[in-house]
């Protein structure tokens, strides 16, 4: 097997495993900020215990995210040396900014968030949670900017660089802000954030729905579910708008990618949009497809009868991405997005009617809906990355049809690394990640089975605890302001 294929496989493995965690921590960090804000404002003990519970879950996810994230940073150098030489000058400042602005903030205040419950004031603890959340959002900014630059490069010039007897072209920065706000970064960033918020919401709903079905921690679960449902509904709807803007952007800057998403081989006037299908590359057609007429033309250009260029016309300039993976991952993401809109709106309606928590089938749906939420985040990126092929850095095609720049994935791997080396590192990561995944699920399950601590006021004796447990009552005994002591103490 060749080094390029194996290096791509390794990158796919390590990035997809890593990307289980960042969107989850971004989403959960918002949930924790919200709960700690309520704890400060109302002083109710239930927010204290809820925040403690989600912080524990957050800590586990964060640790695995950090452990697998460090691989990502060094892998560009180990496996993609030629790419690193090509992009270092432009890509590097984003990475440096990420380290200095985001990672220090995130990991530093994480210490206070996880271990500072009894060491710092409730206000400072809340501040630390805000900083962790801000740090995780910052870190998504810079890495997404770097990726967007690979998709739609801007603010750079290609120059010859010489090392020893070797001369090669590399991208050098000319305009930092043009690089940061390259044509696809804002749309992509918003899409990534919404994806993370949706995942966070569905993760919380999954655990809360399970508690509701089992009749455990009912008060905690109802509040968690309702809050997350609102978050999930808002961002599922917002994601529809963001996704549409993204697709327009792809149509403008990466037409070959859009054609691959839609299995459009020949250019077509009034092109339709597939709801589903099975691209057959050999026959250059999509089998078993159901199509909405004119919809693709309308989405891409705003005019249902416009012409959309197909892969055969674009191939000379842009090359041809693998169609089947691009098509299916793109459509799977959209299908999941549609499902989430329907499900959250229905649940919100039932919640308003007051019957949601009696609908066991819907709660069961939400227990498992976190899995498609993970899948949507993964396949969205798969579509973006596979659709960019055969390029690792996309070329720019001018109005005159002149192709400039661009680096082919096949040319980007390390000069000196052999397939044997890559194969052994794939095996190492594969086994290590398999072990990590199993343990992560085990520990997560352990935490969920244990559940949040019953809210309590300090100074209350065992008698009160026992009484409350007997009564099967999750809240405090004497109403609203009761938790003030507990929150202030923590």
């Amino acid at each position: 097997m060749d080094v390029v294929f194996l290096s791509r496989l390794q990158f796919a493995l390590t990035i997809m495993f890593h990307y289980i965690f960042p969107p989850l921590t971004i989403g959960l960090s918002l949930v924790i900020v919200y709960l700690l804000a309520l704890r400060l404002k109302t002083g109710q003990a239930i927010y204290d215990s809820a925040a403690r519970f989600w912080t524990k879950i957050f800590g586990i996810n964060f640790a695995v995210g950090v452990a697998t994230g460090i691989v990502m940073e060094f892998q560009f150098g180990t496996n993609w040396a030629v790419y690193s030489r090509y992009v270092g000058d432009v890509f590097g400042s984003a990475l440096a900014a990420e380290g200095i602005f985001a990672f220090f903030l995130e990991s530093g205040f994480l210490a206070v968030l996880l271990f500072g419950w009894d060491r710092v004031s409730a206000k400072f603890h809340f501040f630390a949670a805000c900083m962790v959340s801000l740090g995780s959002i910052f870190s998504s900014v810079w890495i997404t900017v770097a990726n967007s630059w690979q998709q739609t490069p801007a603010g750079f010039v290609l120059r010859q660089h010489q090392v020893g007897e070797r001369t090669f072209l590399r991208a050098e920065i000319t305009d930092f802000w043009a690089l940061v706000f390259n044509p696809s970064s804002v749309h992509r960033l918003v899409h990534v954030w919404f994806g993370a918020f949706i995942l966070g919401a569905f993760f919380v709903m999954s655990i809360a729905a399970w508690y509701l079905l089992k009749g455990r921690h009912v008060d905690f679960a109802r509040r968690s579910f309702t809050g997350a449902l609102v978050l999930g509904t808002v961002f599922s709807l917002a994601q529809l708008v963001s996704g549409h803007l993204q697709a327009e952007n792809v149509a403008e800057h990466q037409p070959a990618k859009l054609a691959a998403f839609e299995g459009l081989y020949e250019s077509e006037t009034g092109a339709g949009l597939y709801l589903w299908g099975w691209p057959d590359d050999a026959a250059q057609t999509v089998r078993f497809g159901v199509r909405v007429p004119g919809m693709l033309s309308w989405l891409a250009t705003g005019d249902a009868s416009a012409t959309v260029r197909g892969m055969n016309e674009l191939e000379a300039d842009y090359g041809k991405p693998p169609v089947w993976i691009s098509f299916q991952s793109y459509h799977l993401m959209i299908a999941i997005g549609g499902l989430f809109i329907v499900a959250t709106l229905l649940a919100l309606f039932l919640r308003w009617r007051g019957t949601l928590f009696d609908k066991r089938w819907l709660l069961w749906f939400f227990v498992f809906a976190v899995l498609p939420a993970f899948v949507a985040n993964q396949v969205g990126w798969a579509a973006a990355e596979v659709g960019r092929q055969p390029w690792i850095v996309y070329p720019t095609v001018g109005a005159d049809g002149q192709v400039t720049g661009g680096l082919l994935t096949a040319d980007a791997v390390s000069e000196v690394v052999t397939s044997g080396q890559v194969l052994s590192s794939i095996l190492m990561f594969g086994l290590l990640y398999l072990l990590l995944f199993v343990l992560w699920v085990m520990v997560l399950n352990h935490k969920i089975q244990h559940g949040p601590e019953t809210p309590h006021r300090p100074g209350e004796g065992d008698f009160m605890d026992a009484a409350r447990r007997r009564a099967g009552f999750g809240g405090t005994l004497s109403g609203e302001k009761d938790g003030a002591g507990s929150a202030a103490n923590a």
Partner: protein, 343 residues
């Protein structure tokens, strides 16, 4: 001073900061098997519990800055040291999850497994980092194109200097053990602290012996080690400072001023990183081939524009980083106390 020199210095500061901070984390990890029961092991683990993660960010930022400032070095060294780097990554992942997972279940077997992982990963990472520094000092095979032309053993056991990288690896390991023991002494109390006192002395003794041996080996076999001292006479001040700092460690331990001993061992680590930097300058990677091309801070660097932008980013960001690093260390000062939220 041009931007290339500035970034060489800043990389040195990031690497030195990383070695000082994660150095005691590794040391604590390597000492952890000496703890006698579960409670003691938890104290050892929690002495670095809230901060190891932030300490590791220094490495991440070092890597990011290397990529940005000297992409040629990043690409050549990381792909050239492929197998060694995969082992480093393995060790860092194992350490992170050992710390995080150990306390999550109560089973004896579970905890022993992660104890072992914590120890082995700390040892492996310390050794590998030291070996990497040693091999950079003796140079690695770079061809006329400036591309690595060797294998794993050209890094670990280079033919011209077969023992030097391993020697530096052992020195680094002993240094981190000493540094970690002093740190642990500050964070513990009672019976455990009394035993840590013994670990400190053993750590210092081992470090001293290896330091002397490595210095002799370096002076005898690595001409590069002293070449730059003719150009930079002030570099002798760093040597004197490091020797004074080493001497100050036993003095302060003996006098019961362990806080000062910790600062001294931190200074020793920083001085040694500085001495490596002085020895290498202006090369980042020295070619050991006769016709090879070394990677210098000029031919391996990004454009002046990028270096300037990054200097601005660093100037804006580093004061904040230092400020909240300070706040966080202050928050978690004092002896380890085990609670509901500890590992």
């Amino acid at each position: 001073m041009d931007l290339n020199v500035l970034w060489y210095l800043l990389l040195g500061v990031l690497l030195g900061g990383y070695a000082v901070l994660d150095g005691f984390d590794f040391g604590v990890g390597m000492l952890s098997p000496l703890a006698q029961d579960d409670r003691e092991r938890r104290i050892v683990l929690n002495s670095i519990g809230p901060i190891w993660d932030g300490n590791e960010v220094w490495l991440v930022t070092f890597g990011g800055a290397m990529f940005a400032a000297f992409p040629e070095v990043y690409a050549t060294v990381f792909s050239g040291y492929y197998a060694a780097f995969m082992l480093v990554l393995f060790a860092l992942i194992l350490r992170a999850v050992s710390l995080e997972f150990r306390g999550k279940m109560t089973s004896h077997l579970w905890r022993r497994f992660w104890d072992w992982g914590f120890f082995a990963s700390s040892l492996l990472a310390s050794l590998l980092f030291g070996v990497a520094v040693g091999s950079l000092l003796v140079g690695i095979p770079l061809d006329p194109q400036g591309i690595f032309a060797g294998g794993f053993f050209d890094v670990v056991l280079p033919a011209a200097h077969p023992f030097f990288p391993l020697m530096v690896g052992l020195l680094t390991t002993a240094m981190f053990v000493m540094h970690g023991a002093i740190y642990l002494y500050l964070k513990t109390e009672g019976d455990l602290q009394q035993r840590v006192k013994g670990w400190m002395w053993h750590g210092f003794g081992t470090f001293l012996v290896l330091y002397i041996l490595t210095t002799i080996l370096a002076l005898a076999t690595v001409p590069r080690a002293l070449a730059n001292f003719q150009h930079f006479p002030w570099a002798w001040a760093v040597v004197v400072l490091s020797v004074l700092a080493i001497g100050n460690i036993p003095r302060t331990i003996f006098a019961g001023k362990t806080g000062q001993a910790f600062l001294s061992s931190a200074l020793v680590i920083f001085c040694l990183v500085a001495l490596v930097g002085i020895a290498l300058f202006p090369n980042l990677v020295t070619s050991s081939q006769a016709d090879g091309h070394s990677l210098t801070i000029y031919n391996a660097a990004s454009s002046a524009k990028t270096l300037g932008i990054m200097a601005l980013i660093a100037a804006l960001g580093m004061p904040f980083v230092l400020a909240y690093t300070g706040v966080i260390y202050w928050t978690f000062r004092g002896k380890v106390q085990l609670g509901d939220h500890s590992y």
